[in-house]
Amino acid sequence: MGWETEFLQQAVDTCTNDSGRIEDCAIFDVVDEATAKSCEFNVPPALSGEKVFEALNLLPGDVEITYGEGSDEPVEEKPKPKPTLSYTPGSIPTDINSPLPGQVFKETSAYVAPVPTTTSAPVVSVAAVPAVEPQPAPTSVHALEYVEIEPNYKSTQLVTNGNLVSKIYWAEETVWVTEVLGSTVTVEGRAAPSADAEIDPVVKRHAHRHLHPHGRRHL
């Protein structure tokens, strides 16, 4: 289970293209999105009987809430209030391929996330996709998954922040009509992209960017 060691080593050593795109790495044979969405996760017997969709007295698996450090025993009273670390925007790393803690190596604020799904996706679901369109919820554990971008977007937009370039696929266009002082002004705007378009550039970019043999760079 997991990676074949030789294959992973080959990936580490040969995926040297600075484009960061996984399709520029010949050893990968990634499935298309439709195939990825059709994958099913066989819930292990130990989990399949867990109640997760109803009100419970304990956490699933009869797990107690434990407040005490190092303890399995629940403590009667709640602990002190949690510390609050308020918002600070993350700094952009000088080498976007070698981020450090506290730095942002995802997209900038132009990043538009996938719409979270509140349908009945089970907690342990990996790639079970609700039938509701368009809300895929892919998860990727132990392996990189490349998702082909579906050609259903209306336009693309490039946003540059420092040395980080984000490509956004807009799936819809919305025309906004604004009424100003009795006259009608039409302003063309853009709606949020669909979940498909939102997820794909994220998956694509991150599948690319981090399969670099950074050992080869001379800083």
Binding site: L59, P83, G102, V112, L144
Partner: protein
């Protein structure tokens, strides 16, 4: 709560990165931890150049800084990865994290080169001195791919209800981390 999204990153920092050998397993984090002792959790990490002089490059401190709880709000510039090392309470989440909470965990990426497993599932690996990058300790000189997991949770979908978020192992503070095995 349904898992909204999940990502695994293979960060390739350093020279001569070695792929995980067969039967390799490792664990990141400590399921029983409930407090943050690697500094003041209500402020961000100190400047990285100071970590060594502050005595914060021991494995215990680095492990505590390998956890992140990212308050997602796409209306503003994003917080950094591994910025906040504990789970904010529901009041904070409801007020600030309109797009949910992203859990981040960075696995150790330095290996002793011999053992694919150890008694506590951790001693055969170690963090480099900047958690994600930096120098491996002499005891663990072999660099592995740096595994970073992200999971996004739709906490904002519960802002109209009272309650408390708890991790599935019973941790209400977020100080532990998921057990993971890699083979």
């Amino acid at each position: 709560m349904p898992l909204t999204f999940g990502f695994s990153y293979y960060l390739l920092n350093g020279d001569n990165i070695t792929a995980f050998p067969p039967d390799f397993q490792m664990l990141a984090g400590n399921t029983k931890r409930r407090t943050y002792t690697a500094g003041d959790p209500s402020v961000s990490d100190p400047e990285k150049s100071a970590w060594s002089s502050l005595g914060q490059t021991d494995q215990d401190s680095l492990e505590q800084r390998s956890l992140g709880f990212n308050c997602l709000n796409y209306g503003r510039d994003p917080e950094g990865t591994l910025y906040r090392h504990y789970m904010p309470d529901k009041e904070y989440l409801d007020a600030n994290c309109a797009n949910g909470l992203r859990l981040e965990i960075m696995f150790p990426s330095c290996w002793d080169g011999e053992n694919v497993m150890s008694a506590n599932h951790k001693d055969h690996v170690a963090y480099p001195d900047l958690v994600m990058n930096g120098n491996c300790p002499d005891s663990h000189p072999i660099r592995l791919p740096g595994l970073l997991y992200e999971t996004i949770w739709g906490t904002q979908n519960f802002d109209d209800r009272d309650g408390m978020f708890v991790l599935a192992n019973g941790d209400p503070t977020g100080k532990c981390a998921p057990d993971e095995n890699l083979t």
